[in-house]
């Protein structure tokens, strides 16, 4: 594990950080994407930041399935709205 406090001082790392979220979403201009990609190829720290940020989003997505509303909660919801007759 390596603490970093110099990342922002490096101009290219700073450029990457300010555009990182859009880069990951694929919504960044192509030209900027290419620059970031080029920088990542030569900067191990930034590659790790990008990979771990992607992984973080992925982990939250795969561990957040749409839950079935618990039966008792569902029943109380229908009752509260006076819609018990439509409970299946």
């Amino acid at each position: 594990m390596m603490e970093i406090d110099h990342l922002r001082d490096k101009k290219h790392c700073g450029d990457l950080l300010s555009n990182l979220s859009e880069f990951i979403d694929g919504t960044l201009q192509e030209e900027l994407c290419e620059k970031i990609q080029e920088h990542m190829d030569s900067c191990e720290n930034c590659r790790v930041v990008v990979d771990s940020l992607r992984k973080t989003i992925y982990l939250y997505q795969v561990t957040s399935p749409e839950p079935a509303v618990p039966e008792a909660v569902r029943e109380r919801l229908y009752r509260r709205l006076d819609l018990e007759q439509f409970l299946k």
């Binding site: 990342l7 950080l17 973080t56 982990l59 909660v73 109380r76 919801l77």
Partner: protein, 219 residues
């Protein structure tokens, strides 16, 4: 998916107070609204209150629903506002979605470089790790949390999230970026510690084996 949910509902019937149609709407959307509520307010009892209040307000508000937003975006908006009201009652700080961040212009920066991506998924998604992930989301300011949940968990676009939260698209992007980086930093700390512990354990095993071998040779 949301388009399919919405296409099967009659907006006209809903606006006219058709109860059977409203029951259909609850069936289709209660799962996603419950998930959002659970993550926003962090306990099942409050989440259930938010779920009920959201659909009560939706039922009352439908005759005035103008259809400019999709039904799901509109329901998310009601649910986020209800969640914020619950949090406000608990007197937590930073309670308004449109409250400016203290450092709106500053970006969240990476605090640690930990390459945890190579860890086995079983460990990344262990029960303990998932509890930690939940705690990490809980630690976000509500105005960051709402943006993260709508964009990355509920899958809304930047435009839909801005619409649901009454924010500019730029504010959504800024807050999403900060929320993601904060979560990444917290997960890096957690997984970094796990990796360090595993490394020590492996080194200890190697050392023990070497000692046993030397002892065996000397006997």
């Amino acid at each position: 998916m949301d388009k399919a949910r919405e296409e099967s509902l009659s907006l006209e019937k809903l606006r006219n107070g058709d109860r059977a149609e409203f029951a259909q709407l609850m069936d289709k959307y209660s799962g996603i609204i419950y998930r959002l509520s659970l993550k926003m307010v962090e306990n099942p009892q409050d989440a259930e209150d938010v779920l009920q209040e959201t659909f009560i307000k939706a039922f009352r508000g439908l005759p005035r629903f103008d259809g400019r937003s999709s039904l799901s975006t509109w329901l998310y908006r009601i649910a986020v506002n209800e969640s914020l009201m619950h949090l406000r009652r608990r007197k937590q700080p930073a309670l308004s979605i449109d409250q400016p961040l203290e450092t709106e212009d500053d970006q969240q920066e990476p605090t640690q470089i930990v390459d945890f991506c190579c860890m086995p998924e079983k460990e990344l998604m262990s029960f303990e790790a998932q509890l930690y992930m939940d705690k990490a989301v809980e630690s976000l300011q509500p105005n960051l949390k709402a943006v993260f949940l709508l964009r990355d968990i509920e899958g809304l676009s930047t435009e839909e999230t801005a619409d649901a939260l009454n924010l500019s698209q730029m504010a959504v992007k800024t807050r999403l970026s900060r929320a993601r980086m904060k979560l990444r930093n917290l997960l890096s700390e957690y997984y970094g510690e796990r990796m360090a512990k595993d490394k020590i354990k492996k080194e200890q095993i190697t050392l023990n084996r070497a000692v046993a071998k030397v002892e065996g040779l000397s006997q």
